[in-house]
Amino acid sequence: MSDTTPLLRLDGIRKNFGAIEALKGISFDIGRGEVVALLGDNGAGKSTLVKIISGGQEPSAGRMIYEGREVSFSSPAEAKAAGIETVYQDLSLCTNVDVVANFFMGREIVKRYFGIPVLQEKEMEAATAKAISDAGTRIPSLRTNVEHLSGGQRQAIELNRFVHWGGKLVLLDEPFAALGVEQTRRGLEMIKKIAAQGIGVVIITHIMAQAFQVADRIVVIRQGIVAGDVRADDTTADKVVRMITGEALRPSPATPAEAR
Amino acid sequence: QEKGTIYYLVPTLLDEFQTGSVSAIEKFMGDVGYKTVTLNADNKTDVQQGQMNDVIALKPSAIVLAAVDFNALKPQIEAARAAGIPVMEFDRQITSTPSDLTSVAGTVEIGHVAAGEIERLLKEKNGSVKGKVLQVLGDPGDPYTLDIQKGFEEKMKAFPDVTIISKPAMQWEASNAGSIVSDQLLANPDIDLVFVHAAHLAVAAVASMEAAGKKPGDVLLVSSNGAPVGLDLIRKGWEQVEVEQPLFAQAAALAMFADKVVNKQEIKPGKYEVLGLDGEVTIETWGPNIKLPGAAITKGNVDDPKFWGNMKTPESKVTPVP
């Protein structure tokens, strides 16, 4: 499961949006089978980093070394092909089609008749039903359009469809934000299971408890730079919160520092 | 070309008469020493209004106008003439304001000629002037088609045994005409004759007749404007009569008087021979007007090279009227 080269190495990743510097040089590694919790304040740059890794945005500068080779994905399709699966913070569902169509988006099961690929709806529905129920989510009908589903039901689709496809690296951007208690518990378990298979996992969350429950390492981003990169065993929730808000950087302030 | 430039404002190039007029006017004006530049308004009145304004700014020797809308160009005609640029009107008569010369076949007259021919055809077919006629108009907002309708129906009033059904082909579009013909052949299987207001509409009308199982001559067909396809249809027996608009003569007449118009000399009323046709100049409230009656083209005379539809542009040069 382990290996000397990391699964992914980020080296000086920068990203500007016009005058705004969202990322100012991010470097850290993700190992095979390792769960990295990526923490940070709102607007710190976490989602931007995820989009860069998953091929949705180009970095303004910096290198990514994936499985020992420098890569630059020019589309999510390429990153996917390289084994990188992503769950986005702003849900990536098509609300105009049903649960099954969303679950198999871009990876539909087909059977060929005279060379023509024909969708296998029954098979896809069965697979979707199993995944959703394993996740502890209840959806009245898998044939309703996603626009009619609750926030948590939507997130369950998004979170669980990636498991179906394995991959080598999984990026989860606040995947439990809308999930219920039980669903979150199962989600965290699932993360442990995939990591155990040697898959690298990056999980973004604002809930310390979740981070400490699954993470091997904690990386904190503050205003576009890495403000901390520690083993989860070596730190505490309080310390991490201070890294996030930046308090730790100042000598004991009188009032809690405002993130300004 | 040495004498200056004349602008020809053509309303559209989507039908054969208009296309033919471009080459005819360019040729005949060339004969008498003028260069012609043509602007196409694409059937849009406001575009043509703008073209007039632009052309006025160019100060040409004269403007030849075939108006999209018969009367909408009045202010621009006035503006051109006020700027000292003479305006000649081609094919579409504008009576609401004076111009320097108008050359027309007469749309109402086309209706009259068609009525005469249809009277004959019905009598030959039914023994007397009776029966059912389907009249396919052009666009119902186009006065050109309304005037033909007016002339036609005025004459046909004399024959109460003739039923006329009139339907418009929106935007002069051929397949609209085709649909009308196929629907009407079912609703009124006893239609004796179809009268379409332009030859390109006859193309689709014939296709519909053929699809309805008709043979040439089963349903008589009359059309107006004398375009090449119309003459072809006569040769094949699908069509009996084209009422021609004497395109060549209409264009040549303008060229014959071009010098007079450009130099603001008087045009005298009277009879003038234009390419072998008898034209008559009258002085109307809207100025000098030359009318060149359209002839009926039938199987008997269809090959006569004088018809513009045979596309044999007269070789002899037009000469200016002294």
Binding site: S92, C94, L119 | P168, E173, L186
Partner: protein, 332 residues
């Protein structure tokens, strides 16, 4: 409470409401408009629907994927004129012949499809590669496409296609000419593609949320380009059919059909916002418009009033659609 079975029936009707509106409208005309109720007239409605129905396939696919194509009408005219110029015997037609003569069917069809596909590819290039707005690109193609028709034909008509092609407009199966069957077959084929193949599924996904589809690894650009080319080729097919029906082509052939096509597509239930629509619904929309036009052709009213009546009828027909909302509310 309504029984499940009952509810299913109502849902079915609501989902196919255009068809039921069509039936209602045709029934009404059959009772009120003299000569309307006869096989021949119904066959005419189907025949007249041929071209708009064909154009509507490509346009629907593009709109479902979240794009627009204003060029289809001109592409159709261009294809028709090219066929007219090459194969018609009089007018501007060159009257080319092939041996054996029936070869003209596949050859002319291939040419028409190719003409359409080329314009579609040009649209795709500007939209997908240069990221230009599809509305503007296809509007430009609408203008230059018609311009090319005029330039090629010199504004003149081509007339008399050979009998080997014309039989498609003359021969009938179940009273309906073969050209109409071609468009019905094309509609069904693409309805299948839209509903049952990954390509169709991806169109819906891209039209619903292009970002989500892109993130899911769907190659959105390739899909879009393909669809533009397809829409062009299908417009070429429409042009081929129109030339066959007209037995040639005129410079203004098909003017105004773009509007009818858009109307049919929207009446048929395709959302201009993308992501929603079915081709069978669109076909019903086309038939609905043609039924109204035919009623007007038969009604014997003064020519001046036809447009007024037509506008009113379109409104009333679609008004029926609003009962949908009321019923759905009741259902809840």
């Amino acid at each position: 409470m309504i029984s499940t079975r009952h509810r299913a029936v109502i849902e079915f009707v609501l989902d196919h409401l255009v068809w039921f509106i069509l039936i209602a409208v045709v029934a009404l005309f059959s009772f009120t408009v003299p000569s309307y109720f006869q096989i021949g007239i119904f066959a005419n409605i189907v025949e007249q629907s041929t071209f708009v129905a064909t154009l509507a396939i490509g346009l629907s696919l593009l709109i479902i994927a979240g794009y627009m194509d204003l060029s289809v009408e001109s592409v159709m005219a261009l294809a028709a004129m090219v066929i007219g110029i090459l194969f018609a015997k009089s007018g501007v037609g060159l009257g080319l012949t092939l041996t054996p003569a029936w070869l003209i069917v596949p050859v002319s069809l291939a040419i028409a499809l190719a003409v359409g596909a080329v314009v579609g590819a040009s649209n795709a290039f500007f939209v997908v590669r240069l990221k230009m707005n599809a509305f503007i690109v296809t509007l430009a193609a609408y203008i230059w496409g018609r311009g090319l028709v005029v330039a090629l034909s010199g504004g003149r008509s081509a007339q008399e296609l050979p009998a080997e092609l014309r039989f498609l407009a003359i021969e009938r199966f179940l009273s309906v000419p073969l050209i109409a069957w071609v468009s019905i077959a094309a509609t069904l084929a693409f309805a299948f593609i839209l509903n049952k193949t990954p390509f169709g599924r991806h169109l819906l996904l891209v039209g619903g949320n292009a970002t989500a589809a892109y993130r899911a690894g769907i190659r959105v650009d390739r899909l879009t380009a393909t669809t533009f080319v397809l829409a062009g080729a299908i417009a070429g097919l429409a042009g081929w059919l129109l030339a066959i029906r007209t037995s040639g082509a005129t410079a203004n052939l098909g003017v105004g059909m773009l509007f009818q096509t858009f109307a049919a597509v929207v009446i048929g239930g395709v959302s201009l916002k993308g992501g929603v629509g079915s081709l069978t619904g669109v076909y019903a929309g086309v038939l609905l418009l043609a039924s109204i036009q035919t009623a007007i052709n038969l009604m014997g009213m003064p020519a001046h009033f036809t447009q007024l009546i037509q506008g009113g009828m379109v409104l009333v027909a679609v008004l029926l659609d609003t009962v949908k909302i009321a019923i759905r509310k009741k259902l809840a």
